[in-house]
């Protein structure tokens, strides 16, 4: 699974740095290093008002914040891997 966190201007201002840090620790916590490839991406073209955009394989998930991070991670990452 490829996860790209947007580090474009808009997402950067809304906390890409924190989301990348959370993502790194969540991947380590679930020992998914072999299954998940984490990378950064320039603007995904979906700049929104709240949160950071991430791309999980071909799906773009918008508005990821530290508050909803765990929910997104469980649903999209763990859920996606379980399929």
């Amino acid at each position: 699974m490829n996860i790209c966190v947007c580090v474009g201007s808009s997402c950067h201002l809304k906390g890409s740095y924190n989301i990348i840090a959370l993502m790194k620790s969540a991947i380590a916590e679930h020992q998914l290093e072999d299954k998940v490839n984490l990378c950064a991406a320039f603007c995904l073209g979906k700049c929104s008002t709240v949160g950071v955009n991430i791309k999980i394989d071909d799906e773009i998930v918008t508005g990821v914040t530290p508050e909803n991070f765990n929910q997104v991670f469980e649903e999209k990452v763990l859920g996606g891997l379980a399929k």
Binding site: V7, G8, S9, H12, L13, C39, C47
Partner: protein, 391 residues
């Protein structure tokens, strides 16, 4: 025209307890024709010295730049400077270095420590003719330039550094030559050479300079063009034209902006890889890599920081530049533009990013154009040749 370029740089330390510097460096002219640098050291320290040296350097610079002979400049200075009520003299020493067509240097010196010439990193003697104008002994030299020649001018504060503190007689001109030869490297900018020497003086003064201390360096280097692409063109149909022009330019290539780098990468048929590494500064988005482009960064946030670094650099207050050591996108751009480049070509796209058209976002089209204006202004003040093309 040859392929040489003149790089100027200087830095001053104030007499301990003074807010104004009694030394003054003025630079005028453009690199294509002739550049004149004047270092003036006003009598005493503080306000009076500052006024004397400012008047001296400004008057000489303006007159020399307009082709007036040195006799007239000196005559004007002698007749214009206000007379000090305590010492009953109007006095400011000066050093003039004029570089013409990047091929000949003329040096005119009055009472400052003699200019040091480093050729290939070693100090060499140069012919000096002395003559008396208005009762003052003026030293004149004319030197044909070679690549990597470095001229180091200084106020007498530099050679008195350490008097009565870490040394009995200060460090002499010979010691400064030794020090300069030891630290010399072809890649050191004029500003860095000056900073290194002034730092050493400050150390000898134990952080409390007993006199205003200024070192100004002039360095002859090769021209180095850098091209910077910032933003996609207003009309998407112009993409190919913009990319063709950009990539056909000689020199280093920097691409700023996410969408912009995608367009550039598509043009080159190369993938973009974006690093997750924030370097030393989490405020600046990570850089990307595209084969065939020297540096790929995010746009407005990175460039805003570059403008900030440029302003601090010009303020001359930063002895240790943060950006010269860091590896984030903004610092890398600063290193390339401020230190490496002599000629800079900006390719600015005026497209409005639809994703940024949200009143809640602090990014607007206006910021981009403003950044380009401010940065151009700063780079020109650093003596760079800047061209901006809009698409």
């Amino acid at each position: 025209m040859n392929n040489l370029w003149t790089d100027f740089g200087y830095i001053s330390l104030n007499h301990v307890g003074e807010q104004l510097c009694g030394d003054r460096v003025e630079i005028i002219g453009d690199n294509e024709n002739s550049m004149t640098m004047v270092l003036a050291d006003g009598l005493g320290s503080g306000v009076k010295a500052n006024i004397l040296s400012t008047l001296t350097s400004k008057i000489i610079c303006t007159m020399m730049a307009n082709g007036m002979p040195i006799e007239e400049c000196v005559d004007t200075i002698v007749k214009t400077l206000p007379v000090c009520s305590v010492r009953k003299v109007a006095y400011s020493t000066f050093t003039i270095i004029r570089i013409t067509n990047n091929s000949v240097a003329e040096i005119i010196q009055f009472d400052n420590p003699n200019v040091i010439l480093l050729r290939g990193g070693k100090s060499v003697e140069y012919p000096i003719i002395s003559r008396v104008i208005e009762g003052k002994t003026i030293l004149e030299s004319k030197i044909s330039l070679q690549l990597h020649d470095v001229f180091i001018a200084m106020s007498d504060g530099a050679i008195y550094a350490g008097v009565g503190k870490s040394m009995n007689f200060g460090w002499q001109r010979e010691n400064i030559i030794e020090f300069a030869e030891r630290v010399y490297d072809d890649t050191l900018s004029a500003k860095l050479i000056s900073s290194l020497i002034v730092d050493e003086c400050n150390k000898l003064y134990e952080g409390e300079p007993g006199d205003d201390t200024t070192v100004a360096a002039v360095r002859i280097r090769e021209r180095a063009p850098v091209n910077l692409l910032f933003g996609p063109p207003a009309d998407p149909k112009d993409c190919t034209k913009m990319m063709t022009l950009f990539f056909s330019k000689e020199g280093k290539k920097i691409v700023c902006g996410g969408t912009t780098s995608k367009i550039a990468a598509d043009y080159l048929h190369e993938p973009i890889t974006t690093s997750l590494d924030y370097g030393s500064d989490p405020d600046i988005p990570p850089v990307g890599h595209v084969k065939g482009i020297d540096l790929v960064t995010e746009g407005v946030i990175t460039m805003s920081r570059v403008v900030q670094y440029a302003k601090e650099f010009l303020n001359n207050s930063d002895l240790q530049n943060m950006w010269s050591l860091q590896t984030d996108g903004a610092s890398l751009i600063a290193q390339m533009l401020f230190e490496y480049a002599t000629d800079i070509n900006f390719f600015v796209g005026k497209a409005i990013n639809p994703a940024h058209q949200n009143p809640d976002l602090p990014i607007t089209f206006g910021i981009k154009i403003q950044i380009v204006h401010e940065l151009t202004d700063c780079l020109e003040k650093m003596g760079k040749q800047v061209k901006v093309s809009y698409f």
